[in-house]
Amino acid sequence: MEYKVEAHRIMSISLGKIYNSRVQRGGIKLHKNLLVSLVLRSARQVYLRDYYGGICLSAQQAREWCEGEYMDSEQDKLVPGSTESLPESDGQSEVAVDKQEPGNVVESHAALDVESEASGEQDHAENGVLDLGCSELKTPEESLEASPTCEVSNVVTTISSNCISGPPPSNPKQAAETPNGCQTDDGESVEENLHEPIVPHTCTNRKRSAEDSELTDSLPKKTKVMSSTLISKNDEKKVDTEEMDTSNVSSLITIFGSSFSGLLSSEDGAQPDSEAEDSDSGQICCDQMLKNLNPWSTAIVAF
């Protein structure tokens, strides 16, 4: 939980840095922004893992998830199953489970089960990753109230969900649907599932149906993938540019002004637009721009 908050904070800071880099003297520095985008991606991976647990679930999504099979019966199956499938992962992902808005009953139930697991696994694995030492544990309610930055984070998670290279948001409810036996290392299908951003954003409702069908498949795989992702920093799947949620992109663009189509579509968070500005002048600049144009950023490209 605290890791999620920390990840959220780091994401906000990273975005601030990227934004400020636009007005710094000397132009946008490619190296620094690349590093910041890598941090942003790492933080987002951690954040999303809990995010799928439903920090900022929309009501509709929450309802859907709570319907029928996502309920208590799965909880029992889930918890031991989760521990099996997350041998190396920490307890945070399970702690994150209990953040569903509706179903407080579910929450507490999950929390009870989860905490027993969490205590066992807390000290494991991700201490290196997430032991940032600068955040406090917050209750689910408090973290839900992190709304000032929620919009930014929502946007970020949407934007960067394309960039997922395998963080398995172990939503136990969803995972329960498919017993955790499956260990498919099908990177392709994972990617595709991820391309449908499982974004608990109030605006993004239209992808829900697609999500549901894929979530159940994707999550168990993601749980496996996550543990390996944490270890191998170079384990990056090249994600093709996917259709983004236009509203989220627009809000991000509004925040940054321009020049961030790269962050939207690239897993590495490079900034091709800014690069385009930096890149070869004249004719080549135009070509670069054209290559990187996304429909919604057309208006933003100045040259």
Partner: protein
Amino acid sequence: FLLAFPSITLIRTVRFLPLFHVLISVKGPWIPVSLFLVYKIKTQMDEEIDTRKINNSFLRDHNYATEADIISTVEFNSTGELLATGDKGGRVVVFQREQESKNQPHRRGEYNVYSTFQSHEPEFDYLKSLEIEEKINKIRWLPQQNAAYFLLSTNDKTVKLWKVSERDKRPEGYNLKDEEGRIRDPTTITALRVPVLQPMDLMVEATPRRVFSNAHTYHINSISVNSDYETYMSTDDLRINLWNLEITNRSFNIVDIKPANMEMLTEVITAAEFQPSQCNTFVYSSSKGSIRLCDMRASALCDNHSKLFEEPEDPSNRSFFSEIISSISDVKFSHSGRYLMTRDYLTVKVWDLNMESKPLETYQVHDYLRSKLCSLYENDCIFDKFECVWNGSDSVIMTGSYNNFFRMFDRNTKRDVTLEASRENSKPRAILKPRKVCVGGKRRKDEISVDSLDFSKKILHSAWHPSENIIAVAATNNLYIFQDKVN
């Protein structure tokens, strides 16, 4: 007979205040530093000689005065006689070592200001609406071949070759011009004379001999002169270009790591250097912590490395900031050419060119910062690019840290020391005592705790004399020169 006028008008006078000379020695026989000189580079904003054009003044805010004094590079020339510093304001200051005199044996070889000139100006790229900083990123000296000195200085986009020469004679007795340079009325000339060279006060002038521009799309981070003394390379984030020192309108691209699709970018080049004795070999370091050695004989475009030096990451140290702290900020060949030294955020590593799998030696510079990476990320300190230097015999390596600390590591004895470049702690004939950072709870008397470190005082740039134990350390806008104790 043509006079070569310096083409740059000095916009600001720079005052140097040699504060005091102190004799200091360090405990421990293997690190001799003693004589202590401080030069404080201070800008004097002189209104009447402010001849800035409109576009420059648009870019330059007078508040930058202090920031413009921050030293951004330090470099000894190949004999150690000259020491050049570049600052954020685009100025280069060259110091020259005094000749040792029998009259004053105790003032052995101090460095005095030799020449000052404005190397780069702030520019504005109108096409891309980009401001180009005038900060001097690197200075590299050329080997001396005649009485004049040559150095290359670069900012983000343009490399310039400067000639620093002395003039102690001037021609007098022109026919068509009078002594002030005014044209004489030809009707008043009744006789012809031959101009003669008359002695004058020694003047050191710097003239730009070559300007190598428009070759880099991204920010230049390093330059390196080849041992063939004919070529040099300039490196930006994604490309390395090879130049001939004589030819400014053409360069050859020898490394290009720009991906076809910029969205696939994962690493950038952070530094590059030629091997000191083999003119076909060079290395470049990346933001992912790897170093590639390339041989220019293999192909015109050296995208395929001959050797790849990389150490697998320790998974137990994984954090959000692993990528940042593994990015290499500096790479230096040893004088022998056999070893490579790399600096990342927390460590210095020495590599053997014959072993690619892991470094020969790893030295922790300030490992106590590992738990503070989050805060250092917030205040941008984690992006600081520290440099590292070898001593003349390749037995000691030195690098900077925070709180004006700098560290030296003796590779043979495996001993290390932390020293501080600060005037407050130094008195005449005092011992420069080693400093220590305390990490645990219990702090001893002379130790400083990690939380008390001043992260705004960082030593990023330093230089070691090529043959003697003289070091130049840049601490923000102060230049400290430490020297051997004279017995």
